[in-house]
């Protein structure tokens, strides 16, 4: 199978070759590992700022888009079954939403991250909505692997995406919207399934977060 190169074949081992002493194995892998760690760690240090900046920028852009350009936002964490602004534990692992405010510091809505299966793989998206009225503010698909040319229209087809800036949850995906039900969303023909997946993801997320948000605002104070 492998192309054996005869050159450099080395002298034939006389008999059963003595095993390499174990300290050499340990030393080799240990040193190699340490050097590798050094290199990777260094590169990580060098790149991390840019990477994080970029990630933050992407997230910022997405939140800004789906909340229709808020002036600022807070991050709310879910801890112990309710939303808090400042969690007790490590915030890194807690689910979160982003509460947006306009220039005059009025709440304009929350941005929520959600992911569920689409046509083939997970579709993850972010959308903004007003917890009180249930009205959507915007939606952006962050990641999807559905068929290019079909399913990826949920990300690229602006007439589809724009519907999520006015519809009112709970949503319903329909073909060729006729009535004026505020929950109706026109699905993309040829990508009904992906479109409906978006609708379903949003509905589920709204159902999950809305009571929490209402409770938070009802009980908490608005600065």
């Amino acid at each position: 199978m492998t192309h054996v190169h005869v050159h450099g074949g080395g002298p034939p081992p006389a008999a059963q070759e003595a095993a390499t002493p174990s300290w050499r194995l340990l030393a080799t892998l240990g040193t190699a590992g340490a050097v590798a760690g050094l290199l990777v760690g260094a590169v990580y240090q060098l790149t991390i700022t840019r990477v994080e900046a970029h990630r933050a920028e992407v997230m910022r852009g997405a939140i800004a888009e789906v909340l229709q350009e808020p002036a600022r936002w807070d991050t709310l964490y879910m801890e112990g079954g309710k939303l808090v602004l400042r969690p007790v534990g490590n915030p890194g692992k807690l689910p979160r939403v982003f509460q947006g405010y306009d220039a005059s510091d009025r709440r304009i809505g929350v941005a929520v991250l959600a992911a569920e299966p689409g046509f083939t793989e997970m579709v993850s998206l972010i959308f903004g909505f007003d917890p009180e009225s249930g009205r959507l503010l915007g939606m952006k698909v962050l990641e999807q692997k559905d068929t290019p040319g079909l399913g990826d229209k949920i990300q690229k087809d602006s007439s589809f995406v724009n519907q999520f800036a006015r519809a009112v949850a709970p949503l319903k995906g329909v073909k060729r919207r006729t009535g004026s039900d505020p929950g109706d969303v026109d699905v993309i023909s040829g990508a009904t399934i992906s479109s409906r997946a978006v609708v379903r993801i949003i509905n589920n997320a709204v159902a999950r977060w809305r009571p929490l948000l209402v409770a938070y605002h009802g009980g908490g104070t608005t600065p």
Binding site: T2, L29, L39, V43, H54, V58, P148
Partner: protein, 241 residues
């Protein structure tokens, strides 16, 4: 055979050495090939994609456009270069028992470095290539070259080999990428090259299209080779009266 030591690298495809064996010309003891030969071999005669069929996963997965193909090709080339260099440099120091583990460690280090750098420099491309950057570690091509070449050759030859193989890989990926992007999207490097009314062949950017494209490329190549061989010699075989 050490347990993992001789992890056989599956050499598949119409491996040319089989043919030479069949003709009884067994393993010629070549004279040291010139450095240039080390370089050229990987580009055409032993092209990883088109001839040796190694590193098939990225070849299929990320070649739905040219940019990704180029990026993946170059990233792999960098990893090859770095790891062949290191492996060749330390080839007498690494105990056989941990040979593969060490090789992998070296490769993984370079891959992670590339991964991080790509993410910092071109986040878009990094996103498109997704997990397949990390998967360069297990690209059979890299391990194969380390095992069968770098582990036995001096540094300067290993470097030339890495460059040639890397370039060959990039070439193969780009050919696939070009075909798939032009037919499947009507664009080349993102620029529309087909007329506006062109109906894209979506299949080309889907999984079946990956297999199909390489299949067609290989069939074309072997048809070409067949034609040349036929012209060159009267083939032995059955004469149907």
């Amino acid at each position: 055979m050490t347990a993992m030591g001789a992890a056989p690298v599956p050499v598949i495809g119409d491996a040319p050495q089989v043919v030479s064996v069949q003709r009884g010309v067994a393993l010629p003891r070549r004279p040291e090939p010139p450095l240039f030969g080390d370089f050229m071999r990987g580009i055409w005669k032993e092209n990883p994609v088109l001839v040796q069929m190694l590193g098939m996963c990225p070849t299929m997965a990320i070649t739905n456009n040219v940019i990704n193909s180029l990026a993946m090709g170059l990233a792999t080339m960098f990893v090859l270069l770095g790891s062949e260099f290191i492996v060749s440099l330390f080839r007498h120091r690494i105990p056989t028992e941990v040979r593969i583990a060490s090789y992998i460690l070296v490769t993984a280090t370079f891959v992670t470095m590339v991964d991080l750098s790509l993410e910092a420099l071109t986040p878009g491309v990094h996103r498109a290539l997704g997990a397949f950057i990390a998967l360069i570690v297990v690209n059979c091509l890299v391990l194969g070259r380390q095992e069968s070449f770098a582990a036995k050759q001096p540094v300067h030859r290993a470097v030339m080999d890495a460059l040639g193989t890397g370039l060959g890989f990039t070439l193969g990926l780009s050919i696939m990428g070009a075909i798939r992007e032009v037919l499947g999207n009507g664009t080349f490097l993102g620029v529309q090259v087909m007329p506006a009314a062109w109906e894209p062949w979506v299949i080309m950017v889907l999984p079946p299209g990956g297999f199909l494209t390489l299949g067609i490329v290989l069939l074309t190549l072997s048809a070409f080779r067949e034609m040349r061989a036929q012209r060159a010699a009267v083939r032995p075989g059955r004469r149907i009266a």
